[in-house]
Amino acid sequence: MMLSAYPYPRFEYRRPPELSEPEVHRHPVIVVGAGPIGIAAAIDCRLKGLPVVLLDDDDTVSVGSRGLCYAKRSLEVLDRLGCGERVVRKGVSWNVGRTFFRDEEVYHFNLAPQPGHKRPGMLNLQQYYLEEFELARARELGVDLRWRNRVASVSCAPDHVKLEVETPEGTYAIEAEWLIAADGAGSPIRKMLRLEVDGHAFQDRFLIADIAMKAEFPPERWFWFDPPFHRHQSVLLHRQADNVWRIDFQLGSDADPELEKRPENVRRRVRAMLGDEREFELTWVSVYSFQCRRLRNFRHGRILFVGDAAHQVSPFGARGANSGYQDVDNLGWKLQFVMAGQAPETLLDSYSDERTFAADENILNSTRSTDFISPKTAISKVFRDAVLELAQQHAFARRLVNSGRLSVPTVYTDSALNTEDVDTFAGSMVPGAPMEDGPLAGGGWLIDELGGQFQLLVFADDPAMLDSQLPAAFEALAAGRVPTQSLILARRAGKVRGARTLIDATGIVTSRYDAAPGTVYLARPDQHVAARWRRMDLARVRSALARATCHG
C-alpha cells in the first residue's frame, strides 16, 4: 500500500545490444538484482576497474522504506564505495536504544560508548533513498544498468555462466565469467539451480506502519514489551528521514494480514500508541513474517551469492542488509585477486567459509532475539517476563533483555586466511577482526586510510627511532606478488622511506590495537586483521600474505 510523497523514479528500459547481434557476449562480471547489495557489488567491481553489467527485473527503487537501519560498518563500506556522505547527510544517526516493559523503561544501551569514530553506531534511512544514492554512484562509474531485464534461465560451465534474459522486446543470451547473485530472499537464480536452503520460518506476523508526522521524540530506537497501548505484544519505534517514523507492531501468529493492513485499523493502532490527537499520515503499510535460513555454500562454481539471496534473518538486530554489505566487502577483493590471477580460485571458497560463519552468527543472534520477543511456550514467557521485572532494578537481568542484538561486523575467528598470534595482545583486534576506527591528527580517520589493498601498519612513538632495515622491507613488500602498502602509525610526525606516516596524536588508535612501538599489523583489503606481531619480520609477513591469499 503506497501513500508516500517520495517521487518514485521510473528508469528507462533500453534495448540491450545483444538483441540485435547474433553472437553471444561474454562479460567479466554480471550482477543480478539492483537492490542495495547488488548495486554495491556493481560499484565495487567498477572501483576495481572491472566492467560490470547489472540486471534487474523492475524499473524503480525499493517500494516502501523496507531496510531501515544501517550499521556503522555498512556506512564505512558505503564511504569506500563513494556514497557514504550522501547517505549520512540524509539519514538519521542514532546511538541510543531504550527498552520499556509495560510503561516503564527497563534498559537502555549506547552503541557508541566511546568517542573517536568517524561514523555513528546506526543510521536510519529509507531503502529507496539508499538505492537512489547508490544508483547515482553506479551511473557515475559507468555500470551497464539494464532495467526490466529478467533472468529466465541460468546454466553453469566450468569457466563461465550463461543466462537467458527476458526483456520487453524479447529474449537474449549473455555470458559471464563470474556471476554475482543479489536477487533477494526469493532468489530466482537459487531456485533455478535447486540449491538447498537450511533454516526455518517463524509464524509470528508483524505490521509495519510508516507515518509522516511532526514529533519531538529523540532520534533513538524505542522498544516496548507488552505496552498499555498494544497489550501482550511488542512495538518498535524508529525515526527515518523526512519526518517519517517507522512503527513495527507485533501481531501474533493468528493475525489476518488483509484485515490488519486496512488503513482504518492501522490508524487505530497508531492513534492508541501516540495517545493524543496529533495529525499523521500513513505513508507505507506492510504485514510481514520472516525466516532464519541460509544457503549451505555461498559459492556455486562461478556463481557467488550475496545478501538475502544467500541468507535471511529476522529483522531484530538489523542483520539483513548490514550483513549483505559485509558480503560485498568480503567478496570484492577476492574476486579481483582471482580474476587478475593473483590468487587461486580457492580464495573464493574462503568467501563462502567466512560469510556462512557470519550468517550463522547473525541467524543465532536474530533467532535468540525473536525467541525473547515472541516466546513460543508458556514457560518461555514466564522467564521472559521475570527477566523484564528484575531488569528494572538489577543489572544482570538488564543484560539478558533482548530486543535485538544490533549488527556489528563478524570477527572471522576460524578463518583459514588468519595467521595465528605468536605474540601476546590484549583487546579485540585479533586475526580475523574488523579493524577499529580511530581519530588521526588533522581531523582524519584511520578507517579512511585502510582498505582496497593489503597494508602493513607499523606502530611507533617517533618514526625516526624505527629500525633502519624497515624501508628496505617496505619496498620489498610494495614490489611483492601481493603488493602491500606500508603505513607508519606514529605518535609524532616524521618521514620513513617507502611508507606513509599517520599521526595518532591522541594515542586512541595505539590503545585500541594494544600496540607498542614496533607492533605490526597486516590488514586485508576489506579492513580485517590478517596477522599481527610485536616486531617486524619480513619472512613472517610474506608467509601471512601467502596464507591470506590461499597461496600454499
Binding site: 525467541d371 528484575l390 538489577h394 543489572a395 544482570f396 542484538r405
Partner: protein
C-alpha cells in the same frame, strides 16, 4: 559474600567479543531445557533446578536474599 546482581555469566575457555553473548548463551540453554515439556513437567524441572543451584551456592544468607528479591512484587 553478598548476592551477585551484576552480570556474571561466562564459560571457561570461551572468548567473547560482545558483552551480551554469555547471558544469551545461558538464556538459550534455559529455554532449550524446557523444550517439549508440558507446563507441569516444566514446573518440576524448575523445582529441581532451584534445589540443585541452591545447594551449589550453599550460603543460606545469599539464598535468603535471592528468595526475598524473587518474591517481592509478585
Amino acid at each position: 559474600m553478598p548476592l551477585k546482581l551484576e552480570p556474571n555469566f561466562r564459560e571457561p575457555g570461551k572468548r567473547y567479543f560482545h558483552d551480551f553473548t554469555p547471558g544469551d548463551d545461558f538464556y538459550e540453554l534455559l529455554v532449550d531445557t524446557h523444550r517439549g515439556l508440558s507446563d507441569e513437567q516444566s514446573a518440576q524441572v524448575n523445582a529441581k533446578l532451584i534445589l540443585l543451584l541452591a545447594n551449589h551456592i550453599g550460603d543460606i544468607a545469599v539464598l535468603r536474599e535471592a528468595m526475598r528479591i524473587a518474591r517481592s512484587g509478585v
